[in-house]
């Protein structure tokens, strides 16, 4: 039973951004913030040039270099000539159009979805886009944030709008409390495990419930970041005092009288009591255990305490076939204990888990340990600010003493475009967001985990149930 006048957070933002809607045409939605990086923009700038169109609102754009940049030896030129050209193209395009770019020499440089919140660039209620599926991250601020293709990047630059069809709404409630060993990453993996990578198709997800409210802003960013892996258009969390406290004082946050006005508006945004959601999914925080993905899809996850499933254990034939294929690629046998799976690599970083709290959490586990023989472990702060903060707290020393490499910021091994990659058959405990075949390198075997789990795996050389074994 719902109140027909009650609106969801999504509906409120949608209605406030409708520029025009006539029969026979898609609704036209206004875009407040456009985030950019070097990989999905060059063809868009080229398109503007060919059509002789300017960028309509340069002040709405914040750009960075992240996907192709090296995370070490940054004083040397980029080794890959194609990547080098792509980076140079971005720099030139931003200069031509007067766009703010955090290039590699800029102390603000880092992964786009990490640096944008650092500067308070996205506020509750904003429509935010980027040529990158993990734009969903900014939904943590109660913004409508989603990924777009390069043609749409060009469209937004030229018109500051996007034709968009309205999505359905899905409410994902996580009540109860997470154990001290579980994180937003484990909630995300549990949700995707439950509804599948197509479960959110056609929907915008709103996350709610006690366990979600209890997350810090960084935790909320991790959760919303992964909404795309459940097939959702976007993932959102209603703003609250944590959101306002996080934003206050940041470079692009409203100041003075503006702050009070903005605050009034933001407080009107959370979904009304009785608002209608097309689909509801409920989880209990207490039931969530540290997760490990075992297959080649983010939905192929299991608690660390369990075993790799067998194809026969799936009643759905498609899932059974997918399991068989995944086990073959991953070189795993059904029935294997997750805690028996040995690793070659550990990676902490990415727009999912590259923030200061992630490194604090991992450092707690890594302190006093040594990376297991044969394992390479790299810690990649999501931005220079994260790196500097971590060094102020002595976290870098903890990782270095344990035998980890301490790198400069970039997307790095999340998608291995910059030379940080797995070799054929290597197995990685990774805090990134996708475990598709070849994602981290051809033949590379990715296991998605939280930062603490990655740190524990690096020390043991295999996955560890951190809830049973205080690995510090």
């Amino acid at each position: 039973m719902h109140n027909v006048n009650a609106k969801t957070l999504y509906e409120k933002i949608w209605e406030a951004h409708l520029v025009h809607h006539e029969p026979g045409q898609a609704p036209l939605l206004y875009v407040d913030r456009h985030l950019m990086h070097e990989v999905t923009s060059p063809q868009a700038f080229e398109g503007l040039k060919i059509a002789n169109r300017p960028v309509r609102n340069p002040h709405s754009i914040l750009a960075t270099l992240d996907h192709c940049v090296p995370t070490k030896d940054r004083n040397k030129p980029i080794a890959d000539p194609i990547a080098k050209k792509q980076v140079e193209t971005m720099i030139a395009n931003c200069e031509t159009h007067g766009l703010s770019l955090y290039d590699m020499d800029n102390p603000n440089n880092g992964v786009i979805h990490i640096v944008v919140p650092e500067h308070g660039f996205v506020h509750p209620g904003m429509v935010t886009v980027c040529g990158d599926s993990h734009t969903a991250t900014h939904g943590a601020f109660g913004a409508l944030a989603f990924g777009i293709g390069t043609s749409e990047v060009e469209h937004v630059m030229a018109t500051q709008t996007l034709p968009q069809e309205k999505s359905k709404s899905m409410l994902v409630r996580v009540d109860g409390a997470l154990s001290e060993f579980c994180t937003a990453k484990d909630i995300a993996l549990s949700v995707i495990g439950k509804i599948g990578t197509a479960g959110g198709n056609g929907h915008v997800i709103e996350f709610s419930g006690e366990a979600v409210r209890a997350l810090s802003m960084e935790g909320r960013m991790t959760l919303c970041n992964m909404a795309i892996e459940a097939g959702a258009r976007a993932g959102m969390i209603a703003p609250d005092q944590k959101t306002y406290d996080y934003l206050q004082g940041k470079e692009f946050a409203p100041k003075g009288a503006d702050w009070e006005m903005a605050l009034d508006y933001w407080k009107s945004l959370p979904s009304d009591e009785g608002a209608f959601f097309d689909t509801t999914v409920a989880l209990q925080g207490n039931d969530i255990a540290p997760q490990v993905s075992w297959g080649t899809s983010p939905e192929q996850v299991a608690p660390v305490t369990s075993t790799v499933p067998t194809p026969e254990s799936f009643s759905d034939n498609n899932k059974a076939l997918a399991c068989k294929s995944a086990l073959n690629y991953m070189g795993l046998a059904g029935g294997t204990k997750i805690t028996d799976i040995e690793i070659d690599y550990a990676f902490i970083g990415s727009c999912t888990n590259g923030r200061i709290e992630d490194f604090r959490s991992a450092a707690k586990v890594a302190r006093g340990t040594t990376v297991a023989p044969g394992v390479t472990a790299i810690a990649v702060p999501g931005s220079y600010h994260v790196k500097v903060q971590a060094e102020e707290e002595g976290l870098d020393k903890i990782f270095l003493d344990a035998g980890w490499e301490w790198r400069d910021p970039g997307c790095s091994m999340c998608l291995a475009m910059n030379g940080d990659e797995l070799k054929d058959g290597q197995r990685c405990a990774s805090t990134s967001n996708r475990n598709f075949e070849g994602r981290q390198g051809k033949g590379g075997r990715t296991h998605l985990v939280s930062p603490a789990m990655a740190a524990a795996a690096a020390a043991a050389g295999k996955f560890v149930d951190i809830s049973a074994n205080n690995a510090s």
């Binding site: 990989v39 293709g149 018109t159 197509a198 198709n201 996708r434």
Partner: protein, 205 residues
């Protein structure tokens, strides 16, 4: 954008579910600054052996599917990244129609920017179409976007849904940006109103 024309063509069968964008175009090819030439990279890791030769066991390398413009494939096609390089590769390779039970949202949107028609059918129909191709590789289907129908020799004909706006643009090869800029006055009005009601969004940094 090229207009989509009604046509008849060989339908290629790729009976896999959850084909993700990392398989459609692996990331090493995303470093290019051009929009062209991505057809050579389509399904790269499945299509080619490590030494660069064609993998003859990959279904789309079958001679019977040569020249196909229609791809029939499994659930949740195009899941993963927003990379438009995926539809660029598909279009440049030669496909302009994809038939499946479901598509990932971002990929679905990107198709329409590239004259690719993504058609959704139910499970039973997809099975029937896949069976028809498997029984007779090289069979041709006819696609009629105007009437929103597909016909096949074995009679597995079906009607499909497509948003009227998208259909109109595809049939006429219309440029999205040009169409939007026809409403430029409304965009300006929106911005003036927002400047008044939410001035903090428009302060110079």
């Amino acid at each position: 954008m090229e207009a989509y024309k009604n046509h008849q063509s060989i339908a290629a069968l790729m009976n896999r579910n959850n084909v993700d964008t990392d398989q459609i175009v692996p990331k090493q090819f995303l470093k290019k600054v051009e929009r062209t030439g991505f057809g050579a990279h389509l399904f790269h890791d499945w299509r080619f052996n490590p030494d660069g030769s064609e993998n003859i066991t990959f279904e789309l390398n079958k001679p019977s599917f040569k020249g196909a413009t229609i791809l029939v494939t499994g659930d949740n096609f195009g899941c993963g990244s927003s990379r438009e390089h995926a539809p660029w590769a598909i279009a440049d390779y030669g496909f302009n129609t994809i038939i499946s039970t479901s598509f990932a949202d971002i990929f679905y949107n990107n198709c329409f920017k590239n004259s690719i028609l993504p058609l959704v059918v139910d499970s039973a129909k997809l099975d029937a179409l896949m069976d028809e191709i498997a029984a007779n590789e090289g069979v041709s289907f006819s696609v009629d976007l105007e009437n929103q129908t597909v016909t096949t020799p074995a009679g597995n004909d079906f009607s499909f849904e497509v948003e009227p706006f998208r259909k109109h643009n595809m049939l006429n090869g219309l440029d999205d940006i040009g169409l939007t800029l026809a409403h430029e006055d409304k965009i300006s009005t929106f911005e003036s109103t927002q400047k008044q009601n939410m001035p903090w969004l428009w302060r110079e940094a």
